[in-house]
Amino acid sequence: MNLTVNGKGAIVEGKDSLDVNALLVELKVEQPDYVTVELNGDILERENFAQTLVKDGDTVEFLYFMGGGSR
């Protein structure tokens, strides 16, 4: 399936859909426990990752904490 991930095209070979946890693994997302996932404009709740399917044509944003600024 073809996805748009953080603004760029991404191809997941041999799959028509994947749950969000599996997608985090498939795309080798760093620190998956702390990433916020937005699917087609809606921010997902972490407890729904396992039941939420990502399908061909979907738009996914991985949003990361950024703590720096002062020191």
Partner: protein
Amino acid sequence: MLTEDQIARYSRHIILKEVGGKGQKKLFDGKVMIIGAGGLGSPIALYLAAAGVGTIGIADADVVDLSNLQRQVIHQTKDVGIAKVLSAKEKMLAINPELRVNTYEEWISAANISEIIKDYDFVIDGTDNFAAKFLINDACVLAGKPYSHGGILQFDGQTITIDPGKSPCYRCIFPTPPPKDAIPTCSTAGVIGVLPGVIGTIQATEAIKYLLGKGELLTGRLLTYSALRMRFREVPIKKSGKCPICGDHPTITQVVDELDALNVCDLEK
């Protein structure tokens, strides 16, 4: 009424139809609170001072360290060892002696945040840890005070403006802080020195636009910046009904310190 010197000083503002003499007066009557006098706070404080924002608060309990000078451009070699807020105030008044600069030489906490922000029109988060970022969000949302979030890490930055009640807040994106040690920050991960200049200048722009009442604020969209790829992206963000502070059934009704969110760097204090 602006004096002759003020008309000369702000002439490049005044000729802008969005500013004019009236707008410049609004800036001079404006009050902006900057939390953090480091990487982000440096360009924010310098530009707001130069722009003629009449009252600027700046809070930080840290002292200038030699390792700060690579990016914290308001501080100079001679300032190493002195309080960041005093070093910052000196530069701001050197640029613009007419300003009122209020310094708060303390770390923000649930005990002092509401009092610190209460007299200001707009708040800017230039802090380096999640406990502070969540605290600022909560205090501003509860007080209905608009603020700008900024975060930087290595070569990446992000910023969003929060207009409480009207636009999504930081907890709509990140409901709870990451556990301590989970996310690298500051000294452990590194940061390219020019990065806070880009993000901080955008944050200062938001404060100025807010005071002028002109343009569109950076609300409802998280602006992300990659210095390595030299790309800006906008991620649309919706207000979350389940947000713990601005959602339909808020569970956070007063400011609390997120003790679990203190990061490795805080332990060095």
